[in-house]
Amino acid sequence: MRAARAAVAAAVLVAAPWLVAAVAPGAQRYVLHVLIFTCLYAALALSYDLVVGHVGSLSLAHPAFFGIGAYTAALLVTEARWPFAAALPAAVAAAGVAALAIGVPMFRLTEHSFAMGTLGFAVVVQIVATNWVDFTRGPLCVTGIPKPALGSWRAATLPAAYWMALAAVTLVALFYRGLTTFRLGRAFHAVRDNETLAAAAAIDPLKYRMLAFAIAGALAGGIGTLYVSYVGVLCPGELAVSLTVSLLVMVFLGGVGSLRGVLVGAAAFTALPEVLRMAPTWRMVIYGLLLLVIVIRWPDGVGGVLRRRAPAR
């Protein structure tokens, strides 16, 4: 039963470009565009939740890793003429190494100081991206980033870009599940819930925090690569701290530390502003009010509500 439902859901997701074309032919481009953003945001939110949800460190540096990956890939494919297939792992590595390097001093801080320290790092990275004009082109933006290609195949059409984004979020979700369950998940959660007791259980808290932080950073770098390859342009504004706010909304209103919750949160809070375009003037006001209502009504996130509605099988 459960497997059958999952198969139907997978089929619908894969067939979405045709379904959208059949249902709303005039709006196919727009709907697919929103779906691509939803997939990329969902993948980014999942990577973020590895740190905030599973080792319990409130990092505000995620836009920096997303940006480091995005700039690495964008500059490699435009300036150095690297193929996408080589730029992607380079971007993943650059963001992962940056996370490791910044994690060493940051994890000497705890709680609020850690949040402030990572926020500082995010701000510094954006300032560098804006002002190091010779290297990043600053506010002139990196333009003409080619669509992702693997060999002779190029994700030039919208459905192809959608399938790439869908594949990305699927991979990240599988990876997320592997990391957050079984022995790794237990070690992460032990560190999150009681660091002293975790150490008594021979778990090295710093090692597991660094592991989650570095993997989250590397994944964010990979998603940044897919993002700039799809959009074609990279400006310093993409690294803004406000991206963290969006991620926090998705993760905490969806259901922190829960695969399903974060996916629901990312889908809802990427699609919601688009749906609200029907009321253009009041759009952001309604959005803000909805967030408030959700926080008050379902403090554990909307993912938890779905879980309660569908009792355990």
């Binding site: 237990r186 032990a190 007791l197 008594a200 259980a201 778990i203």
Partner: protein, 251 residues
Amino acid sequence: MPLLEVRGLTKRFLGVTAVDAVDLAVDAGELVSLIGPNGSGKTTLFNCVTGLLLPDAGRVALRGRDVTGAAAHTIARLGIGRTFQLVSVFPRLSALENLVTFLQQHQEESFAGRLFRLPAVRRLEAAAVERARHLLDSVGLGARADVPAGSLSYGQKKLLAFAAALMPDPELVLLDEPAAAVNPTMIEQMKAHIRALHRAGKTVVLVEHNMDVVMDISERVVVLDHGQKIAEGTPEAIRRDPRVVEAYFGS
């Protein structure tokens, strides 16, 4: 060579000397109690031995190997299990998973093996689950295996924490007030568990205020007062020692 050797251990907090040049040697297979009035430095001594606190002076050796200043997870890895005075379990994990968590790091720490649940790691997991079930049964929590540890009663959490400390089969077990704040029946249970552990050849050091428990099960008692070791000996000798009577009942 003693299993645990503490020499001249000193720990100060903002000018207060919580542990003052304490020497302590525990041989393999001994059951030693550490007693003393509140604030006499017993838990601080435990925390220095298990790596949670860095001593200001002195050294801690395990089987002759200097472990002074080693990280808490490293010392746990070397075979010291402990419980905490304020009962500690992982509240969101089930009772069974709590126990498995205490063994898994001793079995392997391979990232790929865990991520991909490789057969070798799954076999270790199955072995850990089996041992956890056995230990849960032995402390009478077998029926609560799948309950989140946070929803257990205080006494049950205490038993769970005790079983968790035993999961990796440590040579040395440090128990911080195992009989505090539990009902008389559970005190008897705890005594029986500690005795069984001792009979099984494990070395046990406990901090305890309940004198009935201490005098009943200990082979040797060490008394701390204001961070200093003031007496050491058999329970009978300690009971008669004027310095101990002074520390407990004096001005």
